[in-house]
């Protein structure tokens, strides 16, 4: 096992592309577990209450989800103890995700009712009516 001796010799604090094989102190798995369970209860309780605007519910739910995701990634996935390379790999797709979703916003907000993508707005296929009358000869 590597000793954390390199730190004692005044090495740069943030080496990139390296990994710390053992956290210097035990990772707080049980604490994070408790936090995650508590946040799950919180998000369900928040959802019980309907805010006047649905967007408030959505944003609160997403905020709690991001908090939970951060806990999982940082502690369970050891991101906290990783070097810059792993951060780079982890962050690039997140940026692409933001790009993808924001690039779709015009589709949601700026469509006319008669544009080809208007079908996204109203799911309204032709109505199905029961015309068959099996007992009727």
């Amino acid at each position: 096992m590597t000793s954390p001796a390199s730190r004692m010799h005044g090495e740069p604090e943030e080496p990139h592309g390296t990994t710390v094989p053992e956290p210097h102190h035990p990772a707080p798995y049980f604490t994070v577990f408790g936090v995650l369970v508590a946040l799950t209860v919180v998000t369900v309780l928040i959802a019980q209450h309907r805010f006047p605007h649905e967007i408030i519910n959505v944003l609160l739910a997403l905020a709690v989800a991001c908090l939970k995701a951060g806990c999982v990634a940082m502690i369970f996935m050891h991101l906290r103890y990783e070097g810059k390379l792993i951060y780079l790999i982890a962050i690039v797709p997140l940026l692409l995700c933001v790009l993808l979703v924001t690039s779709l916003i015009p589709d949601i907000l700026m469509t006319d009712a008669d544009s080809p993508s208007a079908s996204l707005h109203v799911f309204n296929p032709p109505p199905i009516r029961p015309l068959v009358e099996p007992g009727h000869e």
């Binding site: 094989p21 959802a47 995701a69 990634a73 792993i86 993808l100 949601i108 309204n124």
Partner: protein
């Protein structure tokens, strides 16, 4: 892990810090590989989640109505189950790296148990939707030379009815459903794909169809025992269950949870292998860590799916 050259306080030229890799123990290639795999997984999931967000913002009333049909308590239990499995997986990685074989086996076993528990609860949820039917049937009209039958519980002769509810029994000629029943309105035309149980209760009470009802299915079920209806199969004109073909909401719900379920199965297999190897006396610290990273990612996806599908 070999002792680092840096421990000796002097750095030979060939061991000078690499401009990219840096100091200390280099990140193992396996870890970089699994993180790149997870990065591609993030993009995969955001693509289908993004489609869901777009479709949902296009038809908020429809999605809101059918999201209320889902059982959020089962899904909440599933969230806790996955969090527990994430914890035990993290402990398994820790135990495996420290060479603690009994603890590794125990933790992997609990993780596997949680994974199967998750799939079991998922199965219950899927079956609940699978057995949720929307039926349209017409009671046969009376022939002129026959005596007029009394109006049965199925309805008056010649009229068309719609039932939305759970299939509780069926034999060769009859389906028994528990749910809501109403006469099919002629105005405005109604759409089988857009109609839910609450709408049909509304129809029965004289409200317009497709109205949004705040109370979710579960909340209403607690209020009263729902009536049962027996429908002869010969009378049924339309039969649509709550599968992906029901409407856009279920066409999002099933792929999202289904793909996630496949990822859970994809985690069960290597965890089983690691556990069997640990039982045989072999510990794979690095491999356990990588599988652990994947498993935490599966948990992470569910952390987003749960509020997006069940809570909002």
């Amino acid at each position: 892990m070999s002792e680092s050259v840096l421990d000796h306080g002097y750095i030979p030229e060939e061991h000078a810090p690499d401009p990219v890799i840096g100091h200390g123990d280099p990140t193992p290639p396996g870890k970089i590989a699994i993180w790149m795999f997870l990065a591609s997984e993030v993009m995969f999931f955001i693509a289908i989640l993004g489609s869901y967000i777009i479709l949902r913002s296009g038809s908020p009333a429809l999605f809101g109505k059918f999201a209320g049909v889902l059982n959020k308590w089962l899904a909440g239990t599933n969230t806790i189950v996955l969090i527990v499995s994430s914890l035990t997986m993290a402990l398994a990685v820790d135990a495996s790296k420290k060479g603690n074989r009994p603890r590794t086996i125990l933790c992997l076993l609990i993780t596997l148990g949680c994974a199967f528990g998750f799939m079991g609860i998922k199965y219950v949820e899927y079956m609940d939707k699978w057995h949720h039917h929307t039926l349209v049937y017409t009671v046969p009209a009376v022939k002129p030379n026959q005596p007029t039958p009394a109006a049965t519980e199925a309805g008056e002769p010649g009229k068309t009815y719609v039932i939305d509810g759970h299939l509780i029994a069926q034999d060769a000629d009859t389906m028994t459903l528990r749910g809501a029943k109403a006469e099919v309105p002629t105005q405005p035309p109604f759409n089988l794909h857009l109609i839910g149980e609450a709408d049909i209760e509304g129809l029965g009470a004289g409200h317009a169809p497709n109205a949004q009802h705040a109370a979710s299915e579960n909340e209403r079920k607690m209020d009263k025992q729902e009536p049962e209806f027996n429908v002869p199969k010969a009378w049924i004109a339309r039969d649509l269950n709550y599968g992906p073909w029901k409407n856009q909401f279920f066409a999002c719900y099933f792929p999202l949870t289904g793909v996630h379920g496949i990822h859970v199965i994809g985690g069960i297999i290597p965890i089983t292998i690691l556990m069997i190897q640990a039982m045989r006396g072999k510990l794979f610290g690095a491999a356990t860590e990588y599988i652990g990273l994947y498993w935490h990612f599966v948990d992470l996806v569910w952390i987003f799916l749960f509020p997006l599908l069940y809570l909002i």
